[in-house]
Assembly symmetry: C2
Homo-oligomer: 342 residues x 2
């Protein structure tokens, strides 16, 4: 076991797009477990767009990160020391831990994974927060009906790629919006989307959408906000539903996120727009994971991961989210397992 515990703290609150100066690498000591706790070696960790919001000092659904403290997020790790009767050395667990090589956590904060049932990284992706976000947002708010048109923005990302596939399972026509030709091919060729629009190369996203959605838009699952969403508004059908999952295009806008007001479109067609976070459905996570795992096993769902290697590349991987570098779920691989068999 190494003698130090590399960690990343939030050094400054970013203005606009974060830079490397907002993060600070430090070396702490390896924590010890008290009664009921375990020490975990980080194997993979998750970087997610929502973390940008926690870097601001403002009231939100989740407390802001504290300055000069280790940044927290989803982690998959192996138990290296246990003082819990529920976990033993070599168990693979997931939990909300930190951007650090070793964490200590109480047994109640951890979920044990079964590497023999599914690759452990799925616990941070399709069978974790992004999968559940797609599942509940689409089915509880979007409620796609057979034959309806579902548009997904951020369609090749961790959430969007699952949204589109679930919409297909439900018999909808699915149109994805994404930002590279590689992503467009992925949506059309791998995921079976009915149409896909590259918002970075189309001269008019609105016209491309009109072309791809001849019957209008019944569900718009919105991960990005901004100009992409502006283009969808005029195409909404009567009683359309908009699960509002994220607004990644706004997260770094620093107060200058201006566009056409959308209220007239929503009034005109009795449109529902519902902001949500996955935690709103916490008491139904077991149900969601069960259904997602079934679809995965049956080959009805597939997923992609972008895995960056190396602890020191965590900030880069995080910043890459805002440039749309990732296909599917963005992870960072921090270490090889020593005790666990993956």
């Amino acid at each position: 076991m190494t003698e130090v515990n590399k960690q990343i703290q939030l050094a400054k609150r970013p203005k606009g797009l974060p830079t490397m100066e907002d993060f600070r690498f430090v070396e702490g000591s390896i924590p010890r477990a008290c009664e009921g706790e375990v020490v975990i070696r980080t194997l993979y960790l998750s970087v997610d767009p929502y973390m940008r919001g926690r870097m601001n000092d403002e009231k939100s659904y989740i407390a802001p990160f504290q300055l000069d403290e280790v940044i927290t997020g989803g982690v998959i790790g192996e138990v290296v020391e246990s003082r819990s009767t529920q976990f033993k050395q070599g168990d693979v667990v997931s939990g909300m831990l930190g951007w650090q090589q070793f964490s200590v956590a109480h047994e109640n904060e951890l979920r044990k994974l079964s590497p023999e049932l599914a690759p452990v990284t799925t616990a941070l992706g399709i069978l974790g927060m992004p999968g559940l976000t797609a599942y509940f947002g689409l089915l509880e708010i979007g409620k796609p009906q057979e034959g309806e048109t579902v548009v997904v923005s951020g369609a090749a990302g961790a959430v969007g790629s699952i949204v589109g596939q679930i919409a297909k399972i439900k018999g909808a026509r699915v149109v994805g919006i994404a930002g590279s030709d590689e992503k467009i091919s992925y949506l059309l060729d791998e995921l079976g989307f009915d149409a896909a629009i590259n918002y970075k190369t189309e001269t008019s996203v609105k016209r491309a959408l009109q072309h791809s959605c001849p019957d209008g838009v019944d569900v718009y699952f919105d991960n990005v906000g901004g100009e992409v969403s502006d283009a969808v508004m005029p195409l909404l059908n009567r009683f359309a539903r908009i699960p509002l999952c994220g607004a990644i295009s706004s997260y770094n806008a620093a107060g200058k996120d201006i566009g056409p007001r959308i209220q007239p479109y929503l009034v005109k067609n009795s449109v529902l727009m519902q902001g949500f976070i996955v935690a709103n459905y916490q008491d139904r996570f077991t149900e969601g994971i069960k259904e997602l795992a079934t679809w995965l096993r049956e080959g009805k769902l597939t997923y992609e991961e972008t895995i960056t290697e190396g602890f020191e590349n965590i900030p880069d991987a995080f910043l890459g989210l805002f440039e749309g570098k990732n296909l599917g779920k963005q992870l960072v691989k921090v270490a090889e397992a020593k005790y666990a068999i993956l």
Copy 2:
């Protein structure tokens, strides 16, 4: 009976704010009733903000007005000739008729009013479309709970003034936003609002709202859109609800309605925003009118009307809506009843 039937047609589709040139006064003949129909003398007619939308040639929840045809809207009139077994001369009726002195309508298109139960003009206001809009929008979408803070824009208008009063009945704290000192006094002194903000004279509506809503905003009943709504967004509480009833500030904006994007606020606090029109609740109108009439009788609801006199003043009364000239429901009185006893 006069020999002519004065009528107002839509002459042009307005660009931005309508002007007198968009309307054309013509003289038609007085219609005759066929079997099952009645002829109605217009006594009062309703001018409403939503009619501006019908003057555009675009897809919406209701068909656009046709050029060179009589503009249609809510009317209260007396039956002057009947070939229906359901109506007799002197009955007072309401229906979607026209900006004209005489209309013919099938018996199925009309509702008979009982002048002895409530003033007939209430059929165009508190016991009609505006009352039902307030009732269903607030209770079915806003769902105010006791002790919550409800903010209403366009608070002194036909819909807003009823929204605020129903919210008070439900035990909420009510803050109204309106555009004149007379309206502010009306909200505070006559309707018992807890606070009221004059958006035309406040230097910062946002700061005034912060002051009036120390616990944030749980329900925002939006009649106006635009900058007033922009100011409410940062104050929304977790799981806040926004019944989106209208966006009068946008109706004449002619494509230049730009402001801060609202999606980040809705995501952050899991806010529901639901556009609606009263017709969505059509199968429950009887229930709504019954409850509104009960509250009215019990003195729990009160209402105000702004009545403009004279057929030739209809366009003026309509245009005045966009300047916020009306307190409560804006009506035009077109004629005295000759057969009916009001």
